[in-house]
């Protein structure tokens, strides 16, 4: 797969005037509204936001699973019309095929492309070696730990040499230690392959540690509230997470998200008919009450 590493960076993602609504029983429900984002070739960009803000919806539209109600999604100038192997995707639930061995999972994209068996076997072995998984090539996913499963998920998505990699809270189900290791592995692969990454997470530390830029979304209907460049130098070390620069970025993002989370929760509390409790819906009082 050395040809991939040698390529010029590709994968310019553009999302313009994007909105997406779906039909609810009380009329259309606006999930995402008036959103513009872009990812430059080879850039690592994260989207953070309160839960239910539509960040996954946005990612699924870039993947081609959802059609925008208005606006347009393009990759390298070509309009996204449906899922394709050009845009690799990693899911939170791992979504490995349980009936395929680790190697067969990694081979899947190459098989779909019509690559002969011996060739794709070799390619899959090389990739699994890079991820330190060669000893498990014949195992079925069920036998693997969560971190191993997600490594297979990432390798599988990268096997076909996509222009962009989309990740939907990929480490959300992992424990803290495994998560740190996975972040390192992802960074290494990203630097080696020079592809664009769009990463959805609710973990602020993770977003800052991994990204060149972070988009922060508003509560539903989601739109971009802020765009924060992360000027931390690379390669990044765990120790940087204690630096004043990192902590300042963290504080900024935290307060942005908290505002939106409170808005989102305020809506829920009103829905539950708890206004009678006379809770102040701004600032810290609510956090303390809860």
């Amino acid at each position: 797969m050395s040809d991939i590493a040698a390529k010029e960076p590709q994968g310019h993602i553009e999302v313009r005037n994007f909105s997406l609504s779906y039909d609810g029983i009380e009329g259309p429900v606006q999930a995402v509204t008036d959103t513009q984002i872009h990812v430059k070739p080879g850039e690592f960009v994260s989207i953070v936001g309160p839960s239910g803000c539509g960040k996954s919806t946005l990612l699924n539209a870039v993947a081609g699973f959802l059609k925008p109600t208005t606006g347009i999604v393009t990759v390298d100038g070509e309009r996204v019309n449906g899922p394709s192997a050009e845009r690799g995707m990693v899911f939170q639930q791992y979504s490995l095929f349980p009936w395929k061995t680790v190697r067969e999972n990694v081979e899947f994209g190459l098989k779909m492309r019509g690559m002969p068996r011996s060739q794709r076997e070799r390619a899959a072995r090389t990739l699994l070696g890079l991820a330190g998984l060669e000893a498990f090539e014949k195992h079925y996913p069920e036998k693997l730990s969560g971190g191993m499963k997600q490594r297979v998920g990432i390798v599988r998505a990268l096997a076909t040499g996509p222009k962009v990699l989309l990740l939907d809270e990929p480490f959300g189900a992992l424990d803290a230690q495994t998560r740190v290791i996975m972040q390192q592995i992802l960074t290494n692969m990203w630097q080696r392959l020079k592809i664009s990454v769009l990463f959805v997470t609710h973990d602020i530390d993770e977003a800052i540690f991994l990204s060149d830029r972070v988009y922060c979304m508003t509560a539903r209907p989601g739109s971009i509230k802020a765009e924060i460049p992360i000027p931390l130098e690379r390669p990044r070390q765990q120790s940087m997470m204690m630096s004043s620069e990192f902590l300042a970025l963290r504080r900024g993002l935290m307060s942005l998200i908290r505002e939106e989370s409170l808005k989102a929760m305020g809506g829920e509390i009103n829905d539950m008919g708890m206004q009678g409790l006379n809770i102040e819906l701004h600032g810290h009082s609510l956090v303390e009450v809860l």
Binding site: F65, G82, P83, S84, M112, Y140, A157
Partner: protein, 275 residues
């Protein structure tokens, strides 16, 4: 292992093997003991011709059944009964699987096909195979065909319904994963929907095989001239009481054997579900 270490003696190996397999050995021992107890109770009830609500006056003893078993083993007619029943099961069940599984897969994938076929299937499904006997005799020119048809019907619906159920449970995230790895409709069907449904398909095949035997025996008793169901019914008419029990046991053993075959096939086809 360092070369100086002596290999474990036979005694230690045997002990280790025993410890590892203790649970299974226990289950086997209890199972054998229970079967012996069953035979013993049967023997006592028939030897003393117990009458206590149920009457064991005419029920053959295990020894009498064994005697007629040894006789039957040398009787080509008995073997032919068994062979014919197996053939009917094989044809009827295979047809049900060959039609039921693909139909279930297609119905699960294409809404229109589902909407057309499902209501009809739902109306026909609750009709027990035995109620089809008169209709089957009218429909098919030969007796043989109508018996196979009834066997087919018995296994068809469990296979169809379970395949459909399996299709409805396919994780949509796996379909998405396949799509963004470049899979098109046909590949998704072959690489995702089909293997994902296999466990339920095999549930359907196991249930279907059980119902196939139920239906076959009923059909043979009513309209057959050969077959193990006919043999059992004929034994009653001819007052060969030992042969009634022999026929019943033969049916039980054949049913058990065929469901073991399906289970084995399932393990071969789905290695990822081993243990």
């Amino acid at each position: 292992m360092p070369p100086s270490a002596t290999p474990p003696s036979f005694g230690t190996l045997a002990l280790r093997w025993y410890r590892l397999n203790q649970g299974r050995l226990r289950a086997t021992a209890i199972g054998i003991a229970a079967l012996i107890a069953f035979l013993l109770v049967w023997h006592l009830l028939t030897t003393y011709r117990v009458v206590f609500f149920v009457r064991f006056t005419n029920v053959p003893s295990p020894l009498a059944v064994y005697a007629s078993f040894t006789k039957a083993m040398h009787d080509p007619k008995f073997l032919m009964h068994i062979l014919l029943s197996c053939r009917r099961i094989f044809i009827g069940f295979s047809l049900a699987a060959i039609i039921g599984v693909p139909l279930g897969l297609i119905m699960g994938r294409f809404k229109l096909v589902h909407e057309i076929i499902f209501p009809v299937a739902e109306v026909l499904r609750p009709i027990p195979a035995i109620a089809w006997v008169p209709m089957a005799i009218m429909l098919w020119p030969t007796n043989e065909q109508s018996i196979v048809f009834i066997t087919f019907l018995g296994s068809f619906f469990p296979i169809l319904v379970n395949t459909l159920h399996g299709m409805s449970l396919v994780d949509p995230v796996l379909v998405r994963a396949a799509q963004c790895l470049g899979a098109r409709e046909r590949s998704i069907f072959r690489e995702v929907y089909f293997p994902a449904s296999l466990p339920h398909i095999f549930t359907g095949l196991t249930v279907g095989m059980g119902v196939a035997w139920v239906s076959l025996i009923a059909a043979e008793m009513i309209s057959g001239q050969y077959g193990i169901g006919y043999f059992t019914w004929e034994a009653y008419s001819l007052v060969q009481y030992a042969d009634i029990a022999l026929g019943m046991i033969a049916i039980g053993v054949l049913g058990l054997g065929s469901s073991l075959l399906i289970r084995g096939a399932g393990q071969l086809v789905m290695p990822w579900r081993a243990k």
